[in-house]
Homo-oligomer: 291 residues x 2
């Protein structure tokens, strides 16, 4: 992970945007550093009003040729891809001519896990003269710092749960599956796969409400780490105020993410939400994960 | 795994029963072999009417002394523990005097995963002169055979998904976590932890209904295997007609469990349900899991 300062001499940054607040946090950080941005919101995933205050062109998955022409015309060479976009069904994508030429590779993308998809996508764009950079490289202030944000700190028991969660995520990393687990008092309550972190937390809250968890409320940690083989330009784990709310509803003691390897779009809001909920949110050093 | 024939000379078999149909399937199989049974249903988990046709004494978790006296009075030395019982919160258990003497060990049980709990429980009972046996040892007809039950067989793609599922479960076995995953077209859709198999399948059905899964219905396998370190006397994975219904609602192609290492209480019903639902249910040889 490098946190190179943005180079204003390289033309505006193209930001391919999915849903959520993150794309705007990145755009604002890049602009504060004096570099221009052009947003390419994926149609259906981004609020047209929110994007209106930036130079932007809506794009459609499968219309690579149009994106290529617009990005080149805007003088963009560097691309950032950030925000939520669910992989559509192949049959729902309408391809333009230039995308169709890449179709054999695109079809390969639709097999295997997400890592695989994003790496192939990167190679396709790079063959055409673009360069993918990580959002955290152009806007390092969005990365989780080490230590707690907010007032609470993890207890010794919480640190044990964190270490177990990190070890478990490391064991499943090669399967290109979830980046998050919930461990309470050394017991694994949930492992994330296709459902995503918010739903995993909602499941814990449901099980607890039904009396199906043995650990009392106030124990348990949501642990999120990057997959071992993850291309950090695309897919760093992210937390926000919604994650804090979900962890609090699940009755957890807190949230642990890898410092420098997770995105926190709104750290002040996240810290304040954690304090209100009485939970910790901490950035762990990579060696803290060692069991 | 040994499948020793029941020894009718050793007195009646004590069956500590949780919920579900399995305890009765085991009791009936043991009685068919000419051995007596005494059921010890855990209060709150077993229907009093269903248990009425067997000799039985209701028990409460934490009242070890009473169980000990009743089992000894009935001439039982061998114990089987089977059926669903969720681990209660420690504060909700009322201990009798004999159980209190074991309390330091019992408290240790309440940390760590289920394997750990059941192994300590077994040692406690064995110190008092009981012997735990596996339900499949006294009733081997409840074990899953090799190959398909029902008409459908897994395709080559399904076999790839099965191998990936087995490899993933093997990687997380040492964390004493779920025994089941769902893999569709090489992509891991769900990993079971505290929620149990039925809820994991319901989650897939929900995600599919919301269009959040990329794999089409008809792809994907529920894979269930014993944990590597599992004490098979207590905790073999089990499937039944409800598992078939859940897999069908989740839009999966089928179910794969390890032959000889999973319990199928009602194989005829399971095969018929699979045929009606158009899915396969197969018992895989241990070496089929090799990736």
């Amino acid at each position: 992970m490098t946190a190179a300062p943005a180079d204003a001499g390289e033309g505006p940054l193209a930001i391919i945007c999915g849903g959520g607040a993150l794309p705007f946090a990145v755009a604002d950080a890049v602009m504060r550093r004096g570099r221009g941005v052009v947003l390419f919101p994926v149609r259906g995933w981004v609020d047209p009003q929110a994007v209106a205050r930036y130079p932007h062109h809506f794009i459609d998955i499968g219309r690579y040729g149009r994106f290529h022409r617009q990005a080149k015309a805007a003088g963009c060479r560097d691309l950032v891809m950030i925000g939520t976009v669910l992989r559509p069904a192949l049959r729902d994508i309408r391809f333009d001519w230039q995308a169709l030429r890449e179709l054999p590779a695109v079809i390969r993308m639709f097999r295997g896990g997400d890592n695989h998809l994003l790496s192939i996508l990167a190679r396709l764009f790079e063959k055409r003269g673009f360069r993918f950079v990580g959002a955290h490289e152009v806007a390092p202030e969005i990365l989780m710092p080490q230590g707690a944000i907010g007032r609470r700190e993890p207890s010794a028991r919480d640190r044990g749960d964190i270490a177990r969660g990190v070890a478990l995520l490391s064991a499943i990393g090669r399967f290109d599956v979830g980046q998050a687990v919930v461990v309470a008092d050394n017991y694994v309550l949930a492992i994330e796969a296709a459902e995503g972190t918010d739903r995993m937390l909602a499941r814990i809250a449901d099980l607890r409400g039904e009396g199906r968890l043995r650990s009392a409320a106030g124990a348990g940690v949501l642990v999120k780490v990057p997959k071992p083989a993850q291309d950090r330009r695309f897919d760093l784990p992210a937390i926000g105020p919604a994650t804090v709310a979900g962890a609090a509803r699940a009755g957890l003691a807190g949230i642990a993410v890898m410092a420098g390897a997770a995105i926190v779009a709104e750290p002040a809001e996240v810290g304040a939400a954690a304090d209100r909920a009485g939970i910790f949110v901490t950035g762990i050093a990579p060696d803290e994960g060692a069991p």
